[in-house]
């Protein structure tokens, strides 16, 4: 069980200011604000397990060899590489470690899967099919190929974020060389019906690539059960290190390398392997496989407690994606808080020790809302107030209760500053979450005052 530095709940004001007397000087330096720290962004990173860190250590110093070398130093790390491949293969139910390829991270794995399969099968056809809510690493790889003459069909999802299987079936043509559908959505936690998706692809005889970045280590993955040709995941999502990505590729699936150089990874990925990260990632995968039921048993009740607490304490808040249960990964909550914007919520959470993410346009460098929120048809006003919380095994009930109380205060503070809240209270605009029938829509109002429709 991973423990973050958690401190007893103290009387922290909205600004995070705290009387110095409540800081235990023997434990913490006086300059440190003694507030509870709650990490609720496990979708972005997890702390490396101490035993994983220890397993990595000798590969930085003592066993520093390059796996391409033919001497003792190289052969020793080759052995470690093989063991890590076996650990990764076991996590996804692969037959052999020879089907495991190491990359630098999830984005590179997605690039290799999409571009590698597209280039390898160019003569067969130049059409791809992806779900509309895939991760940007998949979407951007596809957009890159579209500029080079490939075409792609984006399959729609339900308002809950579940892929429309009939649309998927209809999208596949004789020219389709790859279907990409993620296991779990990175934003809204929707678990896709992989067995059904696999059946559709098998019936059409098109290889299926499944991005498991948001699910690996937290949900069982079975490449054979799904009939997946490729699956990718990254250990930093399950208490392993950053700097390594994994691509499972069935022997029958054809891909070519997108990085050129040496013949590492069976010629599918040139470049020196990151041995310490691979060794650590392998152990993290083995531990994740063993602890998976405990991890779920730990986070699932916290997810329910957090959502129940928030929906009780915060008016005009909604959950995006499926309700907690079989259709939603037990780590994720994707929330829309009406009448306020997401970045302000994120910043005030951070200043109160709570780390969260947001899909609002204000947090994106492109000033666009998350395309996932667009694909599920979320009202722009709600997409603007988006917050994503992802739980991990270090979180406790006390953490969740602190988050509920603090978040309610943050929302009240930001609503006090928001002209939209005031206008809602005066009946000028209406709520999307709980319409009163008074006033115009937020989007209409935003368009009126900006002179242009909001995107």
């Amino acid at each position: 069980m991973v423990r973050y530095r958690s401190f007893p709940r103290t009387n922290v004001g909205p600004t995070g200011a705290l009387p110095a007397a409540t800081v235990p000087p023997a434990v913490r330096p006086l300059s440190v604000i003694a507030m509870r720290h709650v990490f609720l962004d496990h979708q972005s990173a997890t702390p490396v397990l101490p035993e994983v860190f220890e397993a990595m250590r000798p590969y930085f110093t003592e066993h520093f060899g390059n796996a391409s070398s033919l001497h003792q130093h190289g052969l020793r790390v080759r052995d470690a590489l093989k063991r890590a491949r076996q650990q990764m293969a076991a996590l996804v139910g692969a037959d052999s470690e020879e089907e495991i390829f190491f990359t630098s991270d999830g984005t590179e794995s997605a690039n290799l899967a999409i571009k590698g399969a597209a280039y390898a099968n160019e003569r067969k056809g130049k059409h791809l099919v992806v779900s509309a809510t895939e991760h940007p690493s998949v979407m951007s790889s596809v957009e890159f190929l579209e500029k080079q003459g490939w075409t792609c069909t984006r399959v729609g999802v339900t308002p809950q974020g579940m892929i429309r299987l009939d649309e998927l079936r209809a999208a596949i043509t004789p020219q389709t060389v790859l279907v990409a559908v993620h296991h779990v959505n990175h934003d809204i936690g929707a678990i896709q019906p992989m067995r059904e998706v696999g059946k559709v692809c098998a019936a059409a005889n098109v290889p299926l690539y499944v991005d498991c970045e948001a699910s690996a280590g937290w949900l069982p993955i079975d490449v054979k059960d799904w009939g997946a040709a490729m699956v990718s995941f990254s250990p930093h999502r399950f208490y392993g290190p950053k700097g390594v990505g994994v691509l499972y590729r069935n022997r029958k699936a054809r891909i070519v390398s997108v990085i050129h150089g040496g013949v590492q990874e069976g010629g599918r990925r040139a470049g020196t392997e990151n041995i310490p990260a691979i060794v650590g990632g392998g152990l993290a995968a083995e531990i994740a496989r063993a602890r998976l039921p405990q991890r779920i048993a730990h986070v699932a009740p916290l997810q329910r407690r957090l959502w129940e607490g928030l929906r009780t304490k915060v008016p005009y808040i909604q959950l995006n994606g499926p309700e907690p249960g079989p259709d939603r990964i037990a780590t994720n909550l994707n929330l829309s808080t009406e009448f306020i914007e997401g970045e302000g919520q994120l910043l005030l959470c951070d200043m109160n020790g709570i780390a969260v993410a947001s899909g609002s346009s204000c947090v994106s460098k492109s000033l666009k809302i998350s395309h996932v929120l667009g694909a599920i048809g979320l009202d722009h006003a709600l997409a603007q107030g988006n917050i994503i919380m992802t739980l991990g095994e270090g979180n406790t009930e006390a953490d969740v209760d602190y988050v509920v109380e603090t978040f309610a205060r943050i929302v009240a503070k930001l609503r006090g500053m928001s002209p939209m809240w005031d206008e809602f209270e005066r009946g000028v605009i209406d709520s999307v979450i709980a319409p009163t029938g008074r006033g115009k829509s937020f989007s209409q109002h935003a368009a009126d005052v900006s002179g242009k429709p909001v995107h």
């Binding site: 300059s31 970045e343 910043l347 346009s361 204000c362 005031d422 009126d448 909001v454």
Partner: protein, 142 residues
């Protein structure tokens, strides 16, 4: 965590955490509400104007940290200015007073300038006589 890192500089964070002049003005002489089509932020500035001078200013903002800080700073800067001076107000003043904003957030300061000018425009519309007395005369750019 042994120290606190912040997304924006300390001045921006301070104005975001403790905004100045937040709220509405009862019996405001001019109110401007504008939205940014680019990001969806909305800003509202209310002004109390006496003898051609901005006596008081308040803001309300739906937007990110830098939008809230920009409106807080803008209301601080314009208090005491004449209508003419306020009409010449530029977003760059807000950026400079805040010690800089990330390039992607400059539009937040533009929104503050637009909200201020919309409020002045509203004032001129509602008080044509008082506005005529100001040295700039009546015409206010749209």
């Amino acid at each position: 965590m042994s120290e606190t890192y912040t997304l924006y500089n300390s001045t921006v964070m301070e104005h975001f955490m403790n905004p100045r002049n937040m709220g509405d003005l009862k019996d405001a002489d001019g109110v401007g509400e504008v939205g940014a089509a680019a990001c969806g932020d909305i800003m509202k500035i209310s002004l109390k104007i006496k003898d051609g001078r901005i006596e008081d200013a308040r803001f309300k903002t739906f937007g990110c940290g830098s939008a809230i800080a920009s409106s807080s700073m803008a209301t601080e800067l314009i208090k005491g200015r004449t209508i003419d001076e306020a009409m010449a107000f530029s977003n760059q003043e807000v950026v400079d007073a805040l010690g800089g904003l990330p390039p992607v957030k400059i539009h937040c300061s533009v929104l503050a300038e637009e909200a201020l000018k919309a409020a002045l425009e509203d004032y001129v519309k509602r008080h044509p006589d008082a506005a005529a007395k100001s040295t700039a005369g009546a015409p206010v750019p749209a």
